[in-house]
């Protein structure tokens, strides 16, 4: 059995489609595009609220336009969770893109069944799903309002089904990031669903590839300044053998770096207990993996161990959480910090005088301690300049907007040399969403998971 080459062509919604060109040119069997994060689902929910034909990541056609020539030639297959909370609409967009480019004779498969919004009341009341908050332990009765989306993190199985049915492009909704990469390995190598060590190896590889440039020097705390061509960071490729051994590399001639150090940065990224990395397909022990630098930007990974998957999927619910506004004011030396602080206080007084109800305030002093908070030691050194950022949360959109307006007269009526600018949302109020992670029995979800296969004629 030959090694299978899989690539991580996208790390988030908004990543650059141009990065997949080098991966495709280098030759990969599967191009996996990971488009979703908790924040992304929230963004897509707002899209779908405005327009029912939306709710998927809209850069999908741009990615497919680059990949389709390789797909049409039978060289590469594409797997993506770009379907977000509307995979059916994403599949329509994919088929449309293929037709526009004159590509025919390919098969597009769509995985549906992760969206549980409509089924949620029944699942809770009649099917015994407690939906307790995973982090805080709050009961579902404490859920704030009604859920705006409910996406279960499916595993690799429906993608393997799609590949078995001949799919060249597989579009899913909320399939867990790393499972997108495990699926082609299971399909090609014929791994069994209880071959825990190999499944764990595939999940670990997927985790290393799912954040694109982050395993090759992106967000790297080592000698980041010494990475070749940081303006054109390549994305990762894994060559995975039937026994689960993997070699991580990058396209020939590209910049960035593959080393044990760049990879271990990604290994623990957004991980809790590394001995029990919970994926829908297997519980992987990331502390069992051995990394060997082969030189020439190649690292071999062996010895990954896994234990049986749990009986539950992660399920992410979301609720409306009010409206936010923010504003920034930059202050010059001297006494920049004191001016910023006084202006924040003046704004709060003015908002109170105007009778506007603010439920939460946040004041940050950029250039002083906005990011470090209490970890920044007190200093007698005077800040050379300071930008005040004030953010606030209100119950309604109108109030959140009016709070920002109280800052405008301060341009001429506050401490000197402050320059007012808009923050998030260009000065207008933005909707906040709270998220409610929970667990749901696989048995009640799997019965509704479907693979829809469509040929582009």
């Amino acid at each position: 059995m030959r090694d299978i080459r899989i690539a991580g062509g996208q790390g988030f919604y908004g990543d650059t489609p141009t990065a997949v060109d080098a991966l495709l040119a280098d030759g990969v069997d599967y191009l996996c595009l990971e488009a979703l994060a908790e924040l992304t689902l929230a963004i897509l929910q707002k899209d779908r609220q405005r327009d029912e034909t939306r709710g998927y990541t809209r850069d999908l056609p741009a990615y497919l336009a680059r990949a389709l020539p390789f797909v049409a030639d039978g060289r590469t297959k594409v797997i993506t969770n770009a379907g977000g909370i509307n995979p059916t609409a994403a599949a329509h967009a994919a088929i449309e893109t293929a037709r526009k480019l004159g590509v025919s004779g390919i098969t597009v498969a769509t995985v549906v069944g992760d969206d549980l919004l409509g089924r949620l009341p029944t699942l809770h009341t009649d099917r015994g799903q407690a939906l307790t908050h995973l982090d805080t332990g709050e009961p579902f009765s404490a859920f704030p309002g009604s859920p705006l989306f409910a996406s279960a993190y499916l595993g690799a199985r429906p993608i393997v089904d799609a590949l078995t049915q001949g799919a060249d492009i597989v579009i899913t909704g909320r399939v867990a990031d790393a499972s997108l990469f495990l699926a082609p390995l299971v399909y090609e190598h014929g791994w069994h669903w209880d071959d825990w060590d190999r499944l764990a190896a595939g999940i670990l590889v997927g985790h290393l590839l799912e954040c694109s440039g982050q395993s090759l020097g992106g967000n790297y705390s080592g000698d980041w300044w010494a990475l070749p061509h940081p303006w054109d960071l390549p994305y990762p490729i894994a060559s995975v053998a039937a026994d689960g051994t993997a070699v991580i590399s990058k396209p020939g001639g590209s910049g960035g770096r593959v080393s044990t150090d760049t990879l271990r940065h990604q290994l623990l990224y957004e991980v809790h207990d590394p001995t029990r990395y919970l994926s829908p397909d297997v519980v992987a022990d990331f502390t069992s993996a051995r990394f060997s630098d082969l030189g020439d930007d190649r690292v071999r990974i062996t010895d990954v161990r896994g234990t049986p998957a749990t009986d539950t999927y992660k399920l992410l619910l979301s609720a409306h959480a009010g409206w936010a506004g923010e504003a920034r004011v930059a202050f010059s030396w001297p006494d920049a910090y004191e001016k910023a602080k006084a202006t924040a206080a003046i704004l709060r007084q003015r908002v109170e005088m105007a009778g506007l109800q603010v439920d939460e305030w946040l004041v940050e002093y950029w250039g002083v301690d906005a990011l470090g908070g209490p970890t920044v030691p007190p200093t007698t050194h005077e800040a050379p300049e300071c930008t005040l950022r004030v953010a606030w949360r209100c119950a309604d959109q109108r109030t959140a907007g009016l709070v920002g307006r109280e800052l405008v007269p301060l341009t001429l009526s506050a401490p000197p040399a402050g320059m007012t600018g808009a923050g998030r949302g260009g000065g207008s109020a933005t909707e906040l969403l709270s998220i409610w992670p929970t667990l749901i029995d696989k048995s009640v979800v799997d019965t509704e998971v479907r693979v829809v296969v469509e040929e582009v004629g």
Binding site: D223, D261, L267, Y269, H272, P274, L371, G372, G373
Partner: protein, 135 residues
């Protein structure tokens, strides 16, 4: 014994899951790994972040990559789509962690991680400045 900032000893990366942030702290050799296992406890990290982290801090060891992983509950002002913070996703928390000073044996007191050399950036920016002045 001497005091040294973790900045001189370790790499780091942080990220989010809901209102939970995690920070991985990476040692470059076994001696440093043993030191951080001893010194950088969950309690110290909780204390270091003060009001920024409302909930508990759990620590996990990943000796295969000489790393500690700190999982901080209630650390992101409610989580990405809900938080009023500029850094809604906790990307900057790793840097905030390595500001911590720990006790190190005298033999390690002079350890320094390399400082950035961004002369290539200076060259690019100078080129841009030239082009701008030509206009």
């Amino acid at each position: 014994m001497a005091k040294l900032s973790l900045r001189e000893l370790c790499g780091y990366r942080s990220g989010d899951k809901g209102d939970i942030a995690n920070i991985a702290l990476f040692a470059d050799d076994d001696e440093t790994y043993e030191l951080i296992v001893r010194e950088v406890t969950a309690e110290r990290v909780k204390e270091h972040f003060g009001a920024m982290v409302r909930g508990r801090v759990d620590r996990y060891e990943a000796a295969n990559v000489r790393a500690l992983n700190f999982v901080m509950h209630g650390a992101l002002g409610g989580g990405g789509p809900r938080s009023l913070r500029a850094d809604t996703l906790g990307k900057s928390l790793g840097g905030a962690l390595v500001r911590m000073e720990i006790d190190v044996p005298d033999a390690m007191a002079d350890r320094r991680r390399a400082r950035p050399d961004v002369s290539w950036a200076d060259e690019i920016l100078a080129r841009n400045a030239e082009r701008t002045s030509e206009r």
